[in-house]
């Protein structure tokens, strides 16, 4: 009899792992809380650093053949309970399912920018998040709608909800710096006359070709980078946004009026992480994400044999890192289930 694998979350990690486990001959059930598969990637316009069309990449993952895979939509999993070599998975709506192994691919949630009240999101009209900007690029192919006219100065604020002790997230979300550079370029392409400023603490261009994108932003797009973290934003009578930062490299306070402010919101652990951890008896890390039993040697394995992790549920990752992680998780699941079958 084929072993049953449940994959919690049909984002790119879940889909990638599903297709591999499927090809290995396992029975796979994808459990998705939304009405469709794909997760966040469905909202992105272009991907860094090569500005690849996000829909193409999503299609590439979604269109992989899934012979023995069934998908449950609108099922938000709240608990995974180990029971007699099996796992009982329960969703919010009362749906219950049994599996021989579980792969958690619940991904991340975007930081709620309203929690950073001093930045004015949800208070001032012209403060938006990087995710909203992405949607605007994708749907409207422009941001004029939001402002009502062509913007002449836009600021991108790095590290919103990341590296911030005051909202309880000390970690770096890894993808926002390069996303900001990518979005700055896209904005500049839309509005060649517009001045674009990135307000950053540190520029973490750690991935391959990121630094090149940064250089390109300076060289070809004249994006300006100001090393200073935004303390607070205010709104003037015309609805423009006044920002105050310290130009730390010059050692002087800097005031700037912007037509629009884009907040680079970071990743946070998804809401159901805590309840899944407590029901399954697996560990939550200090940053709120799932904890692998050994992040070096067994990054996909939890403290409970049979429950595995892949993708951003175990910390911020890029799309390519997420996909690699999903593939390695599929191998870990396979080696667990075949060892079980031999016993």
């Amino acid at each position: 009899m084929n072993k049953q694998v449940a994959i919690i979350g049909a984002g790119i990690a879940g889909l990638e792992a599903a297709s591999i486990l499927d090809s290995m001959g396992f029975k796979v059930t994808l459990v998705e809380k939304a009405e469709h598969t794909g997760g966040h990637i469905q909202n992105w316009h272009q991907l860094f650093p090569d500005r690849r069309n996000a829909t193409e990449v999503a299609q590439g993952i979604i269109s992989k053949p899934l012979a023995n895979v069934s998908t449950e939509f609108n099922r938000e999993v709240t608990s995974i309970q180990p029971f007699a070599e099996k796992f009982i998975i329960s969703a919010k709506d009362g749906w219950v399912f049994n599996a021989d192994a579980v792969l958690i691919t619940t991904g991340f949630e975007l930081f709620d920018a309203k929690r950073k009240e001093e930045y004015g999101y949800g208070i001032y009209d012209h403060v938006i998040t990087s995710a909203e900007l992405e949607t605007l690029f994708k749907k409207e192919n422009g941001v004029t709608l939001r402002i009502g006219r062509t913007p002449s100065r836009i600021g991108l604020v790095h590290c919103v909800g990341s590296r911030d002790e005051k909202i309880g997230n000390i970690f770096c979300s890894k993808v926002c710096c390069v996303t900001a550079v990518k979005q700055a370029i896209e904005l500049k392409e839309l509005y060649p006359e517009c001045e674009i400023y990135c307000l950053y603490m540190d520029l973490r261009m750690s991935g391959r070709h990121y630094e090149e994108l940064y250089k390109q932003a300076q060289e070809e797009y004249s994006i300006q980078f100001i090393r200073g973290r935004l303390s607070e934003a205010a709104e003037d009578k015309s609805g423009k946004i006044i920002v105050k930062v310290e130009d730390t490299l010059l050692g002087r306070p800097l005031k700037m009026t912007m037509d629009m402010l884009v907040l680079m919101t970071g990743m946070v652990a998804s809401a159901q992480t805590a309840s899944i951890c407590s029901s399954a008896g697996i560990q939550k890390d200090s940053d709120g994400f799932f904890k692998a039993s050994d992040p070096h040697l067994y990054g996909n394995i939890t403290g409970i044999p049979g429950i595995f992790l892949a993708g951003t549920c175990s910390g911020p990752k890029t799309i390519s890192d997420t996909l690699s992680d999903a593939r390695s998780a599929a191998l870990a699941v396979q080696s667990y289930l075949s060892a079980e079958a031999n016993n």
């Binding site: 001093e118 002790e165 603490m201 090393r227 973290r229 303390s231 310290e246 050692g251 306070p253």
Partner: protein, 115 residues
């Protein structure tokens, strides 16, 4: 600027150079012992950006912290006296530095040494 010492090769004007061989980190060590959160500062400048005193003066807590860290105590007393202790920086600091406690410690230690 010391213009008299015209020398060839690599020289840096004494006034400009932070001479770590000569610098005394006594103040930093004392402040650090009493308020260890000074070590957490990443010089992001949020404190200086939000600072109530910075609207009217050139006060920058970020700079002040760096000066203490580098053992530069000259003029520090006048600098630290500009702080209104309003506490905005403490709310804004992304690293959870206890900025007001830090200011008090710098104040107190400077008082003691009479610098």
């Amino acid at each position: 600027m010391n213009e008299k010492k015209l020398a060839f090769g690599y020289t840096v004007s004494k006034d400009r150079q932070i001479d770590f061989d000569e610098a005394s980190l006594e103040l930093y060590n004392k402040v650090c012992a009493a308020e260890p959160s000074i070590r957490l500062c990443i010089s992001c400048g949020t404190c200086a950006a939000t600072c109530s005193a910075a609207k009217f003066s050139d006060f920058s807590l970020r700079k002040l912290i760096l000066q203490v860290r580098r053992g530069i105590t000259k003029g520090l007393q006048a600098e630290v006296s500009k702080c209104m202790l309003c506490g905005k920086c403490q709310l804004a600091c992304p690293r959870g530095v206890s900025t007001r406690a830090l200011i008090m410690q710098i104040n107190m230690n400077l008082q003691k040494t009479g610098k």
